[in-house]
């Protein structure tokens, strides 16, 4: 199997999960249309990069824009790690934001409820 196809197959689940997550959050009105469209654009750009990696390399090589070797197995691992990190950072930042808001609301409500019981 071509390494470019391997790269695409390994990374596709992360990209699909990220895109599904953005659409779900938008439909559930947790994020604005603007934020959703910017995040979707970023992930689609990344997906196009993965899909077009092989033709882009061949085009660059054929036109003497690069003389680098084609994708190695180590490159596949490295790129996958970067995509995975991007996905993880995005998920963590969303969770952190939600947790911070919940904690603040809880602290606020608890303080008010306890003060009225005295």
């Amino acid at each position: 199997m071509s390494r470019y196809i391997l790269l695409l197959l390994i990374n596709l689940p992360f990209v699909a999960l990220a895109i599904t997550g953005i659409i779900t959050r938008f439909k559930m009105k947790r994020i604005s249309r603007r934020r959703a469209s910017i995040q979707l654009t970023l992930w689609f750009v990344l997906l196009s990069g993965l899909v077009l990696a092989e033709p882009t390399y061949h085009w660059l090589f054929a036109n003497n824009f690069t003389d680098a070797d084609s994708l190695s197995l180590f490159d596949v691992v490295q790129i996958t790690a970067i995509v995975f990190l991007l996905y993880t950072i995005n998920s963590i930042s969303i969770r952190l934001e939600q947790t911070e808001k919940r904690l603040n609301d809880l602290h606020q409500e608890l303080s008010i409820k306890l003060s009225s019981k005295k």
Binding site: I38, Q39, N104, H107, Q108, S111, I112
Partner: protein, 237 residues
């Protein structure tokens, strides 16, 4: 037929203010008692103080909300205003606990807000900055200029703690900052949701105590840094 009095909630966020809070509250209560047009409830939000702020405030016979954790001026103000909203007050006002605001200015602000269509009224110390040190004037003007640059909000005193809120503002105004940077962020959020903002001149009293408690210009720098980070993080929202 007697006109029903407007119910006003006075929110005072306090952190380690046991030295002065009793006197400050007593003075406010005296001034508010003279205003027969409205009925007032004073709510002190003790923001996890390490001293006897809560006990001193209770001694002054006002409502005290104790924060279990110290969450900053922004968090304490949010709790107080949430209390006002939950208890269906007609308006609310915030004041500093160090005694730098004159209760008469508060009453004037409440009157001005209730007789207009303004949703958020800011008591500006800088329209007439008499009594303020040059460093304080410079620091506050600088922060107001930075608030304008970052958020596009034009206010002569974006950091003022004396603010009056309409019922509409109580229902829909929210902010994320927990520290002092909430002052600027609140103006931005209010403007974003279409609330009408106005200012009126107030006079600040600077005692040795309030000078020692006030924000340093270094803290001002920290506020700028946090505001910038907040604005950048919300560019894509």
């Amino acid at each position: 037929m007697t006109r029903q009095k407007n119910r006003i909630c006075i929110v005072i966020p306090a952190y380690n203010e046991s030295q002065v809070i009793y006197d400050v509250l007593t003075n406010i209560k005296k001034a508010l008692a003279r205003d027969k047009k409205h009925s007032y409830e004073i709510v002190v939000v003790n923001d996890g103080s390490a001293d006897d702020t809560s006990l001193e405030a209770k001694r002054a016979k006002v409502t005290v909300i104790d924060h279990i954790l110290n969450s900053g001026a922004g968090g304490a103000t949010a709790t107080g205003l949430s209390y006002a909203q939950q208890h269906n007050f007609d308006a609310a006002a915030t004041m500093d606990a160090d005694g730098q605001h004159k209760p008469e200015d508060l009453v004037r602000g409440v009157e001005k807000l209730l007789s207009s269509d303004v949703d958020l009224l800011i008591g500006s110390r800088l329209i007439d900055s008499k009594g303020m040190s040059r460093v304080k004037v410079l620091g506050n003007k600088g922060l107001s200029a930075i608030t304008y640059l970052i958020f596009g909000i034009n206010s002569t005193d974006s950091q003022s703690g004396l603010r009056v809120f309409s019922k509409k503002a109580l229902a829909c105004l929210e902010w994320k900052a927990r520290g002092y940077e909430f002052c600027s962020e609140m103006l931005w959020r209010a403007s974003k949701i279409g609330l009408k903002i106005d200012e009126y001149p107030i006079y600040a009293i600077y005692t040795e105590y309030s000078k020692s408690k006030g924000q340093s210009n270094w803290n001002g720098l920290n506020i700028v840094r946090t505001l910038l980070a907040r604005r950048l993080s919300e560019i894509f929202r």
